[in-house]
Amino acid sequence: MYILIAGGGKVGANLARVLLAQGKHEVTLIEQRHDRFERLEHEFEHQVLIGDATEIFVLERAGIARPPDIVAALTGDDEDNLIICQLSKEKYGVQKVIARVNDPRNQAHFDLLGISPTVSATRGLMALIEHEVPEHDLVHLLELRKENLEIVEVQIDNGAPAAGKTVEKLDLPEGSRLISIMRNGRSEIAVGSTELQPGDQVLAILQPGKEDELRRVLLKS
């Protein structure tokens, strides 16, 4: 594959290194800063270009018009990453773009402008922390942005309104479904007759924003 990487900081340079080590990809890395570029040039030689990857002539020198199979916009600047992805997709017909989101508050802008998938270290860390810290009763496991769905995990405690009820008797919010029940280390697909018990770990799929309704049905009386 031909992969164009914008941003030669730690993230971009490491990605380029790993991809090249696989020996089956062609990679071009674009870096704007002179000091970084010189260091990268020692390692990556002609595979690194100096320039602002939001400038059309720089992208064209890097072969954007071929177009690449994937463009990864990994600079430390969210606005730049957004513009690189928009130009790649809309001006050059690049089929796959990946954008790094540095400030998670900017995620809404990427969503608004249809740039997906995005990668955010902060978001990933938060998901891990939620998973580890029991006070978060509803854990986000996976976001399916394109589908506008997410998969969450909840634990049914003693006294939870759902404990002792079968799935078909639950008044689940519209736009949500239970997927599976994990009990004593074994999981089964949730069907109408599946009865929830205290201690069960339940996977559910739902539209974002339905978390509170789901919480009410499953966890709080």
Partner: protein, 143 residues
């Protein structure tokens, strides 16, 4: 009528002041407090301290009620993103965006964003000035 001016540097502050003189109710947004100084001691409009990429800052500055939004920070890409947010998220009908790079200005203009490129304007004016000199070809020096 209400106008929001995002980026209150040399360009933004002049636009804010002029719009106010023309009777607009203007709010300026800048991430530096010093920017307020550019509006002078008699500034009667609003000023919100913060970054235009921040949705809450835009809301505080009244983007939902604004009739016009001018985006003129010193970053082309920042301006293009904020302009699109104003237009597509807040459905603002009059969004004007400063973009210094002619290539990006043209691309986003075609995409429906009202971009203004001071660089292109400067190039045209400079070329016209050269043409206006009416330079005649130099006569060959007598041999």
């Amino acid at each position: 009528m209400k106008a929001l001016v995002i980026g209150c540097g040399r360009v933004g502050s002049a636009i804010a002041l002029q719009l106010e003189r023309e009777g607009w109710e203007v709010t300026a947004v800048d991430e530096k407090e010093e920017a307020l100084g550019r509006l002078g001691d008699n500034w009667a409009g609003g000023f919100v301290l913060g970054h235009g990429m921040d949705i809450q800052v835009l809301r505080d500055a009244g983007i939902e009620e604004a009739d016009a939004v001018v985006v003129a920070t010193d970053g082309d890409n920042t301006n293009i993103v904020i302009g699109q947010v104003a237009q597509e998220r807040f459905d603002n009908q009059c969004v004007v965006v400063r973009v210094l790079d002619p290539a990006r200005a043209e691309f986003y203009r075609k995409r429906g964003l009202r971009t203004v490129c001071p660089t292109s304007v400067a190039i045209d004016v400079l070329l016209d000035s050269v043409r206006a000199c009416e330079v005649r070809p130099k006569e060959p020096a007598p041999s």
